[in-house]
């Protein structure tokens, strides 16, 4: 019977029947999912919150009298300063958390974009290539709206702090009182530079304009460094007495983690800004209607992603430095981070970073499609992928494994004889170094698609490159294995030769490459825009992952303080003083990231209201490239 229906001409009718059913079911499913999600997100009242006391209902005749009594009492009550106030619904912690995170994300974007806009403009000025100048201008296009959003969220955050944590905010302001006026002043300069830089595009002498860009960057970085002083002070206070009295504002600013946080944020901002700009380009690519547009935005996405990944590669090392300073400030804090409540957070981080590397490589592989004659290189993808997968797996191997009783019994103890070796620092350091090396190789492979080296020593050159790569990989792995046989103090130091061999390899291979492909014959042209559409979704994915990673790292940095406002000095006595579960934290981060992308969508939209980019008028001069739509995504 079913056969009859299926095979008959009723197929269409069945489909029509199934459609509404599927629709209803899907709607119900979505409602259910949403309710589950919201239900799980319900803010958990911490146990120290005072239980509401339910008194007996006052008798009717007594109500008026009681009300009057309450009024007189209220009149007689002297004013006391509130220590904490509750934010309705989600509670103060989550409110502050998400507002601060949003402020931070926009600020990161606003700080990063001028940086590479400036650099790209410099390149454009030096090479005289118009394309770079236009690209820089388009990056800047995103700035003004983001800037005002950053300022709005900054004000929002300030008010929230004053409302919800009045006492603590007051304390922080008293400690840092000399820094606030310069901060506001710098904001003026920032606005000045930003608007002159943006609106003055093409209206000044290029060098003057570049000077404005430099000023914008310097002022922006200074703003960030001042704000960093406040928050690093909360984590690693200095320059105050045990009771919190200020001894030296200078020390309070130059505390243990201030400099590493500056550097870490500086690099991370570039990576983040690059990825968001790439996502913007991807969005425009997908919207594009002409080949010219596609070519342009493909190129823009590529540059943005290139900036992001290049900045991302040194980030782990900046992170090590920060962690080292945290340990130096307080062992307790360091151990809480790596061994205590937050140790599992780094497994989540491993998943994120593994995804980032994989996606970045994947984008490069897809990018080979831009060039004709790539088939010979396609076969390497498999091996690169295997390398990345293995490193990813090693990095995501938890140190303390979750297992059931029977599994542990089968394993013969809670430490697995093989996995136990993969969960420790030696293995993870090795994995991340190999990941970086592999990504670099992917990039190199991408670079040489469609090119054939013609220099006389081509063979030797290739062999040398391969040899350097193999040597670096060998050194990294050898030191990783060697780490198991030496004491911890020696082991920590091993990461330095590992990193330096990777860096050496990258530099020397690039150097060879430059000479190797000097005057190379091209077997296929690079056709910007001729890339599968799916690659643009990968760029968006990378941006989301970066954002989420920043959210997570923001959580660990501030969550580390646990029940302290200022670590070891000002104690958090609010009901929010507990450290929430990682599951709850990741939910908050997810929601914040969604909010950010909603808002950044608005930014993109506003940016698109602007006239069509200038290059439209000069399109005739550019080489016509492009691709038809790929239907499959």
């Amino acid at each position: 019977m079913t056969n009859g229906i299926m095979n008959g001409a009723m197929n269409r009718r069945v489909l029509i029947l199934l459609g509404p059913v599927a629709g209803i079911v899907m709607f119900l499913g979505v409602v259910w999912m949403a309710s589950v999600f919201v239900g799980h997100n319900e803010y958990k009242e911490p146990y120290r919150a005072p239980a509401a006391t339910a008194d007996a209902t006052p008798r009717a005749e007594g109500v008026a009298a009681e009300k009057a009594a309450a009024e007189t009492k209220a009149k007689a009550t002297p004013y006391t300063e509130a220590e904490y106030r509750r934010f309705p619904g989600v509670g103060s912690r989550v409110a502050i958390w998400s507002v601060a995170q949003l402020h931070l994300l926009f600020a990161a974007f606003v700080l990063a974009v001028p940086m590479f806009a400036f650099i790209i403009e410099v390149i454009g000025y030096k090479t005289g290539d118009e394309r770079y100048d236009r690209l820089a201008h388009e990056f800047t296009n995103l700035l003004s709206v983001s800037f005002s959003l950053t300022a709005t969220f900054g004000a929002f955050l300030t008010f929230m702090l004053i409302i919800l944590y009045p006492k603590f905010t007051n304390y922080l302001m008293s400690v840092f009182s000399p820094t606030f006026l310069p901060y506001v002043l710098l904001f003026f300069f920032e606005a000045f530079f930003l608007y002159t830089y943006y609106y003055g595009w093409g209206k000044f002498h290029p060098l003057v304009h570049l000077g404005l860009g430099l000023g914008l960057n310097v002022v922006g970085t200074a703003i960030m460094m001042i704000a960093n002083a406040w928050l690093t002070f909360m984590m690693s206070p200095r320059g105050i007495s045990d009771t919190g009295a200020v001894l030296s504002v200078r020390d309070a600013i130059f505390n243990y983690t201030w400099l590493p946080i500056n550097v870490h944020r500086f690099i991370a901002n570039i990576a983040f800004g690059g990825s968001v700009a790439a996502a913007y380009a991807a969005f425009k690519f997908l919207q594009a209607e002409t080949d010219e547009e596609r070519a342009h935005y493909d190129w823009m996405g590529y540059i943005g992603n290139f900036v992001a990944i290049s900045a991302f590669l040194p980030l782990p090392f900046a992170g090590y430095w920060l962690a080292k300073e945290i340990y130096a400030f307080s062992q307790t804090l360091g151990l809480t981070m790596m061994g205590g409540a937050f140790s599992w957070l780094f497994i989540i981080q491993a998943v994120l970073i593994g995804n980032l590397f994989l996606a970045a490589n994947y984008y490069l592989w897809l990018g080979m499609g831009r060039v004709e004659g790539v088939q010979p290189l396609q076969k390497f993808i498999k091996y690169l992928l295997i390398g990345i997968t293995l490193c990813f797996a090693v990095w995501a191997t938890p140190r303390s494994i979750i297992a059931t009783v029977s599994e542990i019994r089968a394993m013969g103890g809670s430490a697995h004889p093989i996995l136990g070796y993969l969960g420790v620092m030696s293995a993870k350091n090795t994995a991340v170094n190999i990941l970086i090396l592999t990504t670099f190789m992917s990039f190199l492979l991408y670079r040489r698609t469609g090119k054939v080296a013609t220099v006389a020593w081509a063979k030797i050159g290739h062999a040398a490159q391969l040899a350097i790569f193999a040597t670096a990989a060998f050194i990294v792995i050898f030191l990783g294995v060697y780490g198991y046989f030496v004491e911890a103090t020696v082991r920590i130091r091993l990461s330095v030769p590992q990193v330096s061999s990777v860096l050496m390899a990258m530099v020397s291979i690039t150097a060879i490459d430059v000479f190797l492909f000097r005057g190379a014959t091209r077997t296929g042209e690079v056709r910007w825009g001729r890339i599968p559409r799916i690659s643009q979704y990968v760029l968006i994915f990378i941006a989301v992952t970066f954002t989420w990673l920043m959210g997570l790292m923001g959580y660990v940095r501030s969550g580390l303080r646990q029940h302290w406002h200022v670590y070891g000095v000002v104690r958090d006595t609010s009901p929010d003083a507990f450290t929430p579960t990682l599951g709850f934290a990741t939910k908050v981060v997810s929601v914040t990231v969604l909010e950010f992308f909603l808002l950044i969508g608005v930014v993109f939209w506003i940016a698109s209201l602007h006239d069509r980019p200038d290059f439209q008028r000069q399109a005739k001069t550019t080489r016509r490239t492009g691709a038809h739509e790929a239907e499959l995504t």
Binding site: A22, V25, R530, I531, G626, A627, L632
Partner: protein
């Protein structure tokens, strides 16, 4: 073994194969029997080396069963000089074949101190089997060359054969020793002694996994056919026909849980709506799951017990609004309801440490356990240890049976539990002790074996009954007593048990016990799986339909020829040069 391989589906060819195999075994054996004894010292040397390395500590360097450990072992290690071997394929009283020896070395004897030796190579085991035969002069006599009895392959076990087996079991006197339900509690069971006068117990047929010769149907059939040399277990080779022996085998096979002992590590306590009523006895526990826990000997504190008669207990637990109740059951050859027992009573020290001298006189166990009660002819063994008042008159025992449940006095917070043998100084345990000669249980608090004090608040009540070789003891206590650890739903509480068998003169430290297991109070309401299942299925279905609908919507109308063809490649391929 060839006959083990043939399954119930065996046909003529299998039969033939068995016959050939058996005859082969017989011929090779006879050849070897003649050859082995003539073997030179050099040929026997490898076996001797292995024997001294692995076997001599129990079986003795001279093969007389008097190694270092012998005094602690029960059943005693085989004395190879007598030429008596329990597990054979040869007639009762005859010597075993070489293969019999090899098999028993390889497989060991379950629930005794004879382990399996899976790691020795075939040559090593064979050499060992050859060497063992040098201890007894019987092997060198060619007339004794063993001739295996025919052991036909197994017919299919049916309900009829089991019923027939049950009848034969009752008719042929099995009941006398093994008991009506096969629990090893027959009327003559307490009087049994082996050929050396040591008391011996009939097998508990409901625990197939403890059979010394193996637990398969073929093993049972072989034991039925050839008997166990040196024990009261006779051979039924001549008395019963093959089919009849197979029928009894099927019956015995049906007595045990088919899946084996199924030891667990958690006792799940079910919530019951009706109040627990001790008068209802075991009927209270119908809904509760049965947890079987292995019993091991208390082999640490003096006086030690190396072979407790009970090999396992089963526990069921329930709780109602106010109380928790545990039902403990175990098999006991005979109920000792007179005399006295207690967790801290001094124990007669009648063995031990230095290893009993060889040639122990009949009537007194060299290692103290399995002492036959005064009903038998072994009065000699009784009095020297009785510092208590003499037992009541009649067929009374001096030591009563007893059982104890042990839980920590406080719910453990961290990972630290009290030491499993009656706790330790820092971490006391509560004992719910039931001397089965008394009507009700008592409570003790113990801080180690040497520090046990009565602490009876009257909280713990209980009833006990003995039926057909099985004790059923119920303990009941409030969930949240005035003193002692409370039970709460959803929590795990460590629990351990001890069982004393008065017949074996167990008391105080000499007992069988378990290590810590967990008692889990299952919450009253367990969420149903139906809701989540339906939700998941619907969600997946929705996603599926969405994908299929989308794919069809996109591709179905465009004609088949395009599918997977040019249309799909549209992406990059069509983007040619301008």
């Amino acid at each position: 073994m060839s006959f083990r391989l043939s399954g119930p589906r065996s046909s003529l060819s299998a039969y033939a194969a068995v016959l050939i195999a058996v005859s082969c075994v017989a011929t090779t054996r006879s050849v070897r029997a003649a050859g082995a004894q003539a073997g030179t010292a050099a040929q026997l040397e490898p076996g001797r080396v292995i024997y001294l390395e692995y076997c001599a500590q129990c079986h003795g360097e001279k093969g007389d069963g008097e190694g270092y450990a012998a005094s602690h072992l029960h059943p005693r290690p085989r004395n190879f000089t007598t030429g008596k071997f329990k597990i054979r394929t040869t007639p009762n009283g005859a010597l075993p074949t070489h293969e019999d020896l090899v098999r028993i070395i390889r497989r060991g004897m379950p629930y005794t101190s004879m382990p399996a030796w899976p790691d020795l190579s075939d040559q090593e085991v064979s050499a060992l089997a050859n060497f063992i035969t040098t201890f007894s002069p019987d092997f060198s006599n060619p007339e004794n060359a063993p001739k295996p009895v025919p052991l036909p392959s197994a017919p299919r076990s049916t309900k009829e054969s089991i019923d027939q087996g049950k009848k034969l079991y009752e008719e042929n006197g099995c009941v006398k020793c093994h008991g009506a339900l096969g629990r090893g509690d027959g009327p003559s069971a307490p009087t049994l002694v082996d050929d050396w006068g040591n008391p011996i117990r009939p097998a508990d047929l409901t625990q197939r996994w403890t059979f010394r010769g193996g637990s398969s149907r073929e093993d049972i059939f072989r034991t039925m056919s050839t008997g166990l040399n040196g024990t009261p277990m006779p051979s039924f080779l001549d008395a019963l026909k093959d089919e009849q022996r197979w029928a009894i085998t099927d019956f015995i096979d049906s007595l045990s849980e088919p899946s084996g002992p199924g030891y667990t590590n958690v006792v799940i306590t079910k919530h019951v709506d009706d109040p627990i009523d001790l008068a209802k006895g075991t009927a209270n526990f119908e809904s509760a799951r049965v947890a079987r826990l292995p019993i091991i000997g208390q082999i640490t504190e003096p006086v030690r017990e190396f072979h407790p008669p009970a090999t396992s207990v089963t526990v069921q637990a329930i709780y109602d609004a106010e109380s928790i109740a545990l039902l403990v059951r175990w098999h006991d050859m005979s109920a000792e309801r007179t005399g006295k027992n207690g967790p801290s009573l001094p124990v007669p020290r009648e063995e031990e440490e230095e290893g009993a001298p060889a040639g122990v006189q009949v009537g007194k166990s060299p290692f103290g356990e399995e002492e036959v009660a005064p009903t038998g002819a072994q009065q000699a063994g009784k009095d020297p240890f009785a510092e208590e008042a003499a037992a009541p008159s009649g067929p009374a025992s001096e030591f009563s049976d007893a059982v104890a449940i042990q839980i920590p006095s406080q719910v453990p917070t961290g990972t630290r539990k009290p030491y499993f043998i009656f706790g330790d100084a820092q971490n006391p345990v509560d004992l719910w002790f039931f001397d089965l000669a008394r009507p009700a249980p008592l409570q003790f608090t113990a801080k180690g074996s040497a520090d046990i004090a009565p602490n009876d608040t009257g909280d713990v009540t209980g009833v006990a009954s003995y039926e057909q070789g099985e004790w059923s003891v119920i303990f009941k206590r409030p969930l949240r007593p005035a003193s002692g650890a409370p039970f709460s739903p959803g929590q795990f509480m460590p629990v351990a048990l001890s069982v004393w068998d008065g017949f074996s003169r167990e008391r105080g430290n000499r007992r069988g016990l378990t290590v810590w297991y967990s008692l889990y109070a299952e919450p009253e309401n367990i969420p149903s799986a139906v809701g989540p299942m339906v939700k998941t299925a619907l969600l997946i279905l929705a996603i599926e339909l969405a994908i299929i609908g989308w794919v069809r919507w996109r591709y179905a109308s465009r004609g088949r020829e395009e599918l997977g063809g040019a249309r799909l490649r549209a992406g990059g391929a069509t983007a040619g040069p301008p």
